[in-house]
């Protein structure tokens, strides 16, 4: 059963609205996105900056509201649950924020940071909350836990802070964990620890994870399926194992080729795309990727490709008429 179902979701941000909140132009951050995440899977979202992946995460966690479409977690519409019972909603889905430095209040200890959600949402007493925080720290291998409970954020390394963030996101036993770039602040030599921790947590708790990252290797390593976003749209959904060798969309192929520069992971010639990502305020007509695509034809310039589905796989490109 799918735990998260996103259907034709739109989020437009007004550009320079007048005093009545009306705007002539909009940033098309998330522009008709659909996909579903099965219970217990790690689902990845990749794309370059400005493609809408963080906006998508914020919509799913309910930090901002979508304009149109539907996001359902365990069959319940996010906008509804959020309105009717926000506390229950927060227990359903939690987020691991991107920046392990900004996410902390520098004046509060780790104990404060970890017990807050337990006191506010978990209905625990102070003592229970502290012992629960203790367990959580052990779960993310920050031991001795008593030592870490009394530390301030600046006394921890970035990797340790990232563990605390994961512990906090898990504290209410959510069904869905949204992790936005959980390792992008870490050095390569320590990144593996957090990757392994996420794997371990996922396996033990059978939790569903939506992992957002610009780092293709991390997404490949952790996820079962991956959605590729470009300018607010999902252009391809594929099995992670196919990412480096069997992607279909020309954008995915170019992204893979550029990302693994030097390591020669992808096959064939290096693909160097022309130009830059166009503005999401006035996205190109037809297929949004056509100005940079070397396969673009007249139809790509005029007509937006309809996504083709088959077996959990999706591609939105005129090059393909069937999967």
């Amino acid at each position: 059963m799918s735990l998260l179902k996103v259907e034709d979701v739109f989020k437009l941000f007004p550009v320079r609205p007048d005093i009545f909140g009306r705007a002539k132009k909009f940033v098309h951050a998330v522009d008709g996105v659909s996909f579903s995440v099965e219970e217990g899977e790690i689902f990845g979202v990749i794309g370059e900056s400005g493609c809408g992946k963080t906006t998508l995460a914020r919509l799913i966690v309910g930090l901002i509201d979508y304009d149109r479409g539907s996001i359902k977690i365990k069959g319940e519409e996010v906008s509804e649950v959020k309105r009717l019972d926000v506390e229950r909603f927060r227990r359903t889905v939690q987020m691991v924020p991107q920046d392990p430095v900004m996410a902390f209040n520098p004046r509060k200890t780790i104990k404060h940071f970890l017990t807050r959600p337990l006191l506010l949402h978990g209905g625990l007493g102070r003592e229970e909350a502290v012992s629960r925080a203790h367990q959580l720290l052990e779960e993310v291998s920050l031991t001795p836990a008593d030592f870490f409970l009394d530390r301030y954020p600046h006394e921890l390394s970035v990797g340790q802070r990232q563990r605390v963030l994961i512990a906090r996101a898990l504290s209410l036993n959510p069904d869905l964990l949204v992790a936005d770039e959980p390792v992008s602040y870490l050095d390569v030599s320590v990144r593996g620890q957090i990757i392994n921790l996420l794997k371990e947590v996922h396996k033990k708790r059978r939790i569903t994870v939506l992992l957002i990252s610009h780092d293709l290797s991390v997404v490949y390593h952790l996820c079962s399926r991956i959605a590729v976003m470009y300018l607010g749209k999902v252009v391809e959904i594929l099995d992670a194992r196919d990412l480096f060798s069997k992607s279909l969309h020309p954008y995915t192929q170019a992204l893979v080729s550029s990302f693994s520069v030097g390591f020669g992971i992808s096959r064939g010639e290096r693909i160097v795309l022309k130009g830059e990502v166009p503005s999401p305020i006035e996205p190109p007509s037809g297929c949004r990727f056509h100005p940079r695509c070397s396969f673009a034809t007249d139809v790509c310039r005029k007509l937006e490709p309809k996504p083709l589905f088959s077996d959990g796989r999706l591609v939105a490109c005129h090059l393909y008429d069937r999967l």
Partner: protein, 322 residues
Amino acid sequence: MNDAVLRVEGLSTYYYTDKGVVRAVDGVDLVVGENEVVGVVGESGCGKSTLAASVMRLLQPPAKIVKGSIFFRNVNLLELPEEEMRKIRGKKISMIFQNPASYLNPLLTVEEQMVESMTLHLRISKQEAASRAVNILEKLGISAPDTVIKYYPHQLSGGMKQRVMIGMAISCNPELVLADEPTTALDPTIQVQILEQLLELRKNLGLSMVVITHDLGVAKAICDKIYVMYAGKIVEEGKVGDVFNRPLHPYTYGLLESALSVYEKDRPAKFIDGAPPKLVEEIKGCYFANRCFNKVDRCLIEYPHPSFKNGRKVYCWNPVGD
């Protein structure tokens, strides 16, 4: 080794802070040959940016160069008066900075910023400099350069800003370019464009380059020779192919494993346990010993002497694969 463009010998740059002396760069030797692209690879805090700033003599207190020499074409930059150094900085040696957004002046147009160094160093008129700037931007793949040149930095995308930075760096025909994380702030599809551009410049202008990066893939893609830096010291150097195919230092080995293991799905991701030492403390023995899987007793007592092997150099008592 007289044909070296840049020769850094025993360079030490320390930061004199309240908490003690931070030995950010600690006895570094580095050679850049004619038309060579040299990579300095290391993780955050290893001293690689301080190394670049030392070569440019752009350090501010509490940082200070305490030892060593930096020869550029056999002239020791550290002995030059500031006035002479200004004639070299930006002309013969120029720098591309990590984050173009914070190094471009938001109040000046691209033209004003590009023209300044050319009028100063090449002694040409503003008009001449402006037309040169348009030319350079065009070569760097900016379409409609005569429009772009009138723009302010906020009107440019990240990739364009980096192109303008590169344009400024090459505008006075430098012999050596130091690029500090030139593509880190960029998305992968733009990163590839900029890397190709740098390689082209090297070919067309006969430039020598030092590329400072934490990204092993970037280093492998564009460098001829690399230096691996850890805790203020060079731990290994050699031709790119050698170092990547057969790393000798356990740190290099671990770093490569950490990066590459993530490309495999069915095994745990690799990492190097522990954290780099604090550079204010006195360290006995090898700086990497506390995290090393290959250490021997001697590592804890004495800092390794370099050993040489087929044009490679490694600072390790017990290299990988020996």
